[in-house]
Amino acid sequence: MLFKQKIFALLMLLAIITIIIELVRRRKLLEEYSWLWILTGTVVAVLVVWYDPLVFISKLIGAVLPTTTLFIFGIIFLLLISLHYSIKISTLTNQVKKLAQELAILDQELREQVRGNSDV
């Protein structure tokens, strides 16, 4: 990997990790959601700096260029992150459904009570 490429990759990662940490600090992003992003960034950063494991992994998976390995792992991490979001969205959908059902039932009970009171 060229020195320029390394510098560019590291700067980008540094920027992304800084943004994530800043978002969590300002409570715009929950810690719960940030860990996967930070993990992705850190792993890529380590592989950029420490070249031997990258070459080793490239040989292992049969990639010709170490940069390809970086891209592949970047994409795998992105997939995992989207999957993580899909799970979260499913959970949220279920929770919203339950809340809305409860709300509708309680709303009906409340109206019934109000009507009962006004009849007296």
């Binding site: 459904k97 809305a100 059902q101 709300l103 509708a104 709303d107 009906q108």
Partner: protein
């Protein structure tokens, strides 16, 4: 005394709902009626209230399954022992309610499904839907080892076991179908079909209209496959036979 609740999920049914409610009252006097107004944009809620039904207004359009389930939850909260679910668009014939309730009262079944295919019927489905229905009733029949002809039917009667299962976690929010029949079988609940009259959809916005046939077939295969992979559990209650 048996407490019976008839649940009508309704989305933009201001034209049909009052007739449905009136006929239910006519054919089954003992039942309370609740309309689940699924975020309708028209006056469904008001019309149903003036027709004498209790109305639950959902805060937004949640879908057929989620609307029905709200009714099941309401039924449990208010200690109903038997539930009938019927569509609000007038495609189901309310005169069949006593026939649906028969097997749940006698303890013969936990869930009774009104089938439009057990007798000659005026109902006609579009080609792809018909193919889908054939495939899935065939699959459901093989898996449950009972004759299932109409797993899509939204015209059902439940006892407390069916009710508790439907109010629980496993009930789908979109369109309950053959997958639910198979789930019922897998948790040990008894399903029985009785013949009912069903009319052609009066308006075409009813439950399955928006569902693309290809998506429906794909989703249902997936859903049945996953149902078979799961080990759902359900604690069944012993129920005493009731009477009409």
């Amino acid at each position: 005394m048996n407490r019976i609740l008839t649940i009508i999920p309704a989305y933009n049914e201001e034209e049909n709902i009052s007739k449905v409610i009136a006929e239910i009252k006519n054919y089954c006097r003992q039942t309370d009626i609740i309309v689940i107004n699924d975020g309708s944009e028209d006056k469904t809620g008001d019309v149903a209230t003036s027709a004498g039904a209790v109305v639950i207004d959902l805060p937004y359009n949640m879908g057929y399954g989620a609307a029905l389930q709200t009714g099941f939850k309401y039924a449990l909260r208010n200690n109903y022992q038997y539930v009938v679910q019927i569509d609000g668009d007038g495609q189901h014939e309310p005169a069949d309610i006593p026939r649906l309730l028969g097997p749940v009262f006698s303890g013969e079944a936990d869930v009774v499904v009104g089938s439009r295919f057990l007798v000659a019927n005026k109902y006609k489905a579009p080609f792809f839907r018909k193919v889908g229905m054939k495939i899935f009733s065939f699959l459901a029949s093989i898996i449950t080892r009972r004759k299932i002809t109409d797993p899509t039917s939204g015209y059902q009667a439940l006892n407390i076991n069916g009710l508790e299962f439907y109010a629980g976690e496993y009930y789908p929010a979109d369109f309950p179908d053959a997958d639910v029949i198979i789930m019922l079988h897998r948790v040990g609940l008894k399903v029985k079909e009785v013949p009912v009259v069903m009319y052609q959809h009066l308006s075409n916005k009813s439950m399955h209209a928006g569902l693309k046939p290809v998506y429906y077939i794909f989703k249902m295969f997936l859903s049945i496959f996953l149902t078979l992979l799961r080990k759902d559990t359900f604690e069944k209650k012993v129920v005493m036979p009731g009477q009409l």
